[in-house]
Symmetry: C2
Subunit: 407 residues, 2 copies
C-alpha cells in the first residue's frame, strides 16, 4: 500500500475547526487507500507564546529547558488531532519525537536529525491507524529532548517521507504554493506548478520563506517529491521535485527581492594571499553571516572586497571591520546602508545564454543603478538602491515573462 | 547530605510571580545544605483547560490521547521552574516522568506507580542541581505515556521521597494545613499540628480533599513524613506521620460532613447466605461506589440492607436496585435523597471509651435525628437529614473540644 506524509503547519491547526479540517484531509487520503502519516506543528502562535513566557521568567533561559518547554506545543496539537480523527470514526495514534525514534545530535534548540527508526510508525500503520507525529522534535541517544530549529516540522515531514519511502510529502500551509515572486509587490505573480530543489533552495536563501531550507535539502538528497499547498483549498499547489527536462525550458523560475541588508566595501587591501581569509575568519568568529562576496583588484594592485550582511548583523560586523582597519593601514571602509538585492533564479540558466544581458537590460530600462553583481550557476543577484527595489523586481519579473502563462 | 522533596500544586505555580516564589523556596532549602527535589503540577487550571479543549473536539476522547495531552501541563511548569532557578543564579534541571524512570501500569488516565528508578535524579543531585520533576505522569515498560489520576502529583512526590529516603516531603498548597473541620462551616476550626496517616486517610475518604489518598497510603507504607503547608506563608502547616503516643490523648482529631449523598434501604430480603453478595456484585458491575453498608434482621427473620451512594451514582444505582427488586418478590426499596453524613475521626478512639455516647449526645442536644450509624476502628459516622448537616458538624466539633487549643 502506498504511503503519504502530510505536514500541517501552525496556521493549519490553529483552532478546533482547522484541526477538524486537517483530520478530514487525512481521513480522505486513508479512504483513497493510502497509509497516512501526519506531521503537526504547534497550534497557531503557541511556540512564540511559550518563548515569551520563558523570557518573562529568565531573559536568557537555558536552551535545554527551552526545548523541554517548546516541545509541549506539538504534543498538544498531535493529541488533539488524534482525538479529532477518532471523533470522525477512524483510528489514529499520536507519537512524540522520542516515540518514533527520531534521534538527533545533542545541540539544544537546533539539533540535526541523525536517524529515524520508524518501526513504531510501521507497526501502527500496519494496524490500520493514521499516525500523527510531533514535528520539530527529537531525542538524542541519551533520551534528552531537543528541538530541530524554527520551522523544522517541514524537515521532520520530509525526513519521515524519505525513511518511509512515501509516494510524496504534502506540506499544508497558509499560502497555496510557491510564486514567481512576492504577490504583495507584483500582483501579476503566478503560482509555479513545478520547481526543482536547487531553485527552491536558492529562493529560500533569498527570503522566499515558504519552506525550511533543510527540508528541501533532505528532499533533494533522498528523492522526496514535496507538494506545497494550502490547507484552506483543494487546488494543487507547487511540486518541488528533481530537475526534469521541461524545467530547462524555463530560464527563470522566480524573482526575489531582499531588503534590510547592508553592503560593506573595503578598498585598498593588500593583494596578497590570506587577506580575504583573515577578514572572513574574523567575521565568522563573530557569528556574522555574510553573502554576495566580491573581490576585485584595482589599477594600483590593491584589492577591494565587498559583501552584504543582514541588518541584524550590522552592528556586530562594524566591530569586525574596525579590527580589520587597525590591521591594514590606509584602507577605506564604505558602508552602504541600506541596500536591496534583486535576484533571478532558474535552472534553465545553465543551458540558456543572454540571461544576464536580459536582466541588466531590464534594470537599465527601469532606470535602476546596479551597485554590484554576483552570480551562481542558477542565480543572478544585483545589489541596488532600496528605493528602487520594488520597481526592479517588477521589471525583472516582466522581462523573463513570468507574468505570462507558460506555453 | 539530607534530601527533601517539595511538591507545588497548580495554585502554587499558577503564574510567573508564584513560580519565582516556589523557586526561592527550593533555593533556600538548597542553601540550608539540603538536596532538593521539586515535584510540580500544571499551572493553575491548565489541566482543566486542556480537557475542555479535548472535549470540544471529541466528547469521548481516547484516554491514551488525553494522557498525551495532559502530560504537557507539567512539562511546561517544570521547564519554567528550571528557568526561574537559573535566573536566580542556581543550577536546576527538569525531568519528565519517563526521564526519572517512573514506571507505572498500563491504565490510561489512572495508572499506578510500579517502580521508580531514580538513578538519573541521584546523578543530577550529585552534580549540585535542584531537580524538578513532572508530577502526575509516568511511562510503562513500553515507553507509553500515562497520567496517574487527578491530584496524583502528591503521589509522585511522596513516592519519590520514599525512594530517595527524603527527610520529609513538603506539600505546598493553597491552604495552610489540615483543619479540625471545614472552616467555612465552623469558623472555630483549628489547624491540626500533627495527624496520623490512618486519620488522614479517613478524613480524605470523607471529603477533606487536601491530599490525594494514594499519596497518604504511600507515606504510610514507606514511612514518609509529609508536611502539608501553604505556599503563601512561612508558618508551619500540618505534619502527617506515623502514630505517636501523644496522638492517643486526642480522642477525635477531625470532624467532617459530607452532603450530596443518597441512602438506599432495602427491606424484606431473605436472610440467607449470598443475598448481600448478590446485591453488591450487581452494584460493582455498574461501577457504583457504595459506602456505609448496614445489614440488620427484623422480627420476621427478614433482612434489611442499607447503604449510601454519591449523588453522581444515584441514577445508575436505581437501575441496579430495580434488578434486585425483580429477583426478590415482596421487598421494599426506600431511597432517601438527599442525606448527609457527619463523621468523627481519631486514633484515640481505640483507647478511649464513651466516644459514641458523647457524639450521639451532642447530636441529640442539637435536636438532630440519626437515620443510621456506622463505625470503624477510628471513625464514627451518622447519617442525618441534610438540613441539619452544618448544625450537627458544629455540635460534634464542640463536643470533642476541637475548638479549644489542646493542652
Amino acid at each position: 500500500m502506498d504511503l503519504i506524509v502530510q505536514k500541517f503547519g501552525g496556521t493549519s491547526v490553529a483552532d478546533v475547526p482547522r484541526i477538524n479540517r486537517a483530520a478530514r484531509r487525512a481521513i480522505q487520503a486513508k479512504q483513497d487507500n493510502l497509509q497516512v502519516v501526519m506531521v503537526v506543528s504547534a497550534m497557531g502562535k503557541t511556540t512564540d507564546t511559550l518563548i515569551d513566557m520563558a523570557r518573562q521568567i529568565n531573559p536568557d533561559p537555558p536552551r535545554r529547558e527551552l526545548d523541554m518547554l517548546m516541545t509541549t506545543g506539538e504534543q498538544v496539537s498531535m493529541s488533539l488531532m488524534a482525538m479529532a480523527i477518532h471523533a470522525h470514526g477512524h483510528e489514529a495514534i499520536s507519537l512524540t519525537g522520542g516515540q518514533i525514534g527520531l534521534i538527533c545530535d545533542s545541540v539544544h534548540t537546533k539539533a540535526r536529525i541523525q536517524k529515524i527508526d520508524a518501526d513504531r510508525i510501521r507497526k501502527e500503520l500496519a494496524a490500520g491507524k493514521i499516525v500523527i507525529v510531533a514535528g520539530f522534535q527529537g531525542i538524542d541517544e541519551a533520551g534528552e529532548i531537543y528541538t530541530l530549529g524554527r520551522g523544522a516540522s517541514d524537515t521532520t515531514a520530509v525526513a519521515l517521507a524519505a525513511v518511509l519511502k512515501a509516494r510524496y510529502c504534502e506540506i499544508y500551509t497558509d499560502v497555496d504554493g510557491i510564486y514567481t515572486t512576492d504577490p504583495r509587490i507584483e500582483p501579476r505573480a503566478r503560482k509555479i506548478q513545478q520547481i526543482s530543489y536547487d531553485e527552491m533552495l536558492e529562493l529560500a536563501s533569498l527570503g522566499a520563506g515558504v519552506m525550511h531550507s533543510r527540508a528541501i535539502e533532505f528532499g533533494k538528497k533522498y528523492h522526496v517529491d514535496i507538494h506545497v499547498r494550502s490547507s484552506f483549498t483543494d487546488s494543487p499547489g507547487t511540486f518541488i521535485t528533481h530537475e526534469v527536462e521541461q524545467m530547462e525550458h524555463i530560464v527563470v523560475s522566480g524573482v526575489t527581492v531582499k531588503k534590510d541588508i547592508a553592503q560593506f566595501v573595503l578598498v585598498g587591501l593588500p593583494n596578497t594571499p590570506g587577506v580575504a581569509a583573515n577578514l572572513f575568519v574574523h567575521v565568522a568568529e563573530h557569528n556574522v553571516i555574510v553573502d554576495d562576496i566580491i573581490q576585485t583588484v584595482d589599477d594600483n594592485g590593491k584589492a577591494s572586497i565587498s559583501f552584504t550582511v543582514e541588518k541584524g548583523d550590522l552592528a556586530e560586523c562594524k566591530l569586525v571591520v574596525e579590527e580589520i582597519r587597525r590591521q591594514y593601514a590606509g584602507i577605506d571602509v564604505n558602508i552602504i546602508d541600506p541596500v536591496a538585492k534583486v535576484s533571478a533564479v532558474g535552472v534553465g540558466m545553465r543551458s540558456h545564454t543572454g540571461v544576464a544581458r536580459k536582466m541588466f537590460g531590464a534594470l537599465a530600462a527601469a532606470q535602476v543603478n546596479i551597485n554590484a553583481i554576483t552570480t551562481s550557476e542558477i542565480k543572478i543577484s544585483c545589489i541596488i538602491p532600496p528605493s528602487d527595489a520594488d520597481k526592479a523586481l517588477r521589471a525583472v519579473h516582466e522581462a523573463f515573462g513570468l507574468d505570462q502563462q507558460p506555453a
